[in-house]
Symmetry: D3
């Protein structure tokens, strides 16, 4: 039954998404003994213009080379 939503900026490949889905599902099964059949993992991707950290968009932070200090993405 668990439902997990992963919000990230765009750029992940389908292979990376598949790894995330598999890895998170495994964690829920191992740690909480959840039934994998009803475990759902959704990956929600956002433009860097639509995600702000510390009051500024990730797009601007990256353009200024400041993102490394705050976040790789």
């Amino acid at each position: 039954m668990p439902y997990v939503q992963v919000n990230i900026t765009k750029g992940a490949t389908n292979e990376q998404k598949a790894e995330l889905v598999e890895g998170i599902t495994d964690l829920l099964v191992k740690i909480l003994n959840k039934n994998p059949t009803s475990t759902q993992v959704i990956i929600n991707e956002f433009e860097t213009d639509s995600w702000g950290i510390a009051g500024r968009s990730v797009k601007k932070l990256r353009a200024e080379g400041k993102t490394a200090a705050i976040s790789k993405e």
Copy 2:
């Protein structure tokens, strides 16, 4: 005041979305006596690569013809 978010994989037509919005709003009015004017229903659609069930993406499950057993979509 209710806010309802419906997460599905892409593929619904605008007519189907309109039916969902109308049907869910009706339920909130009938069951909970909510004011329809302030009832909002949002439909959030995801790629099948971004939705995982049982540790695998819906895209892969469909490609293998396994989705029927777990989920039509």
Copy 3:
């Protein structure tokens, strides 16, 4: 596979919640042909102090008898 989240203010009975879960699941099966087994409906309840409409909390709006004009709840 659909995942539906219903956000409302506290006050619904378990019977009302059960009706909502059943009704919304039926809609997804009928309108979108979804598999009910993998359809999940979650009801998330909030205090009236934590829900604002038109810039004011539902608690204050109700105390002033103004909620009827904006929202029954």
Copy 4:
């Protein structure tokens, strides 16, 4: 640490998004004394076909010129 998600219909410019991110972050710092570095604001945009108010899509409400009475958007 706060996480804020703003759901709106499509149409906001990057400048408007930047103003929202900055303004909401400022509010969390001023009102709740939150650390801006860990404050995240995400803007999630939806098609007018995917957003319903009062049981009808915003797209239809706008086409009929009825949206003004219920909502500018």
Copy 5:
């Protein structure tokens, strides 16, 4: 029509919540010209045990006095 969800750890007073609701609604009206009547702001509070940053719970980070460096909360 905008819907805003603010996720924070528990501890905000009703007065602070009211200020947040008012401030965020004002921003949506001023920046995006949204109709305040249909603007909803929900504040969702979490236990510090249920919120993790950098792989550790906010509860633990605070107990170790490390939260200041990462986040006031």
Copy 6:
């Protein structure tokens, strides 16, 4: 910058939550090369009366011993 929300029914211990937070953060660092400092994981717990699968509440499914077939929880 990633933000992950894990929705489950109530019952997880603080130790289990801590394991989830750590495990999911590690996955985001390893698979997507995200900065752990800005990675947030929130665990949102729901009553079994508020979570429905296949049109029925998890509470009822468990009482009837039917949950095992659909979901351990």
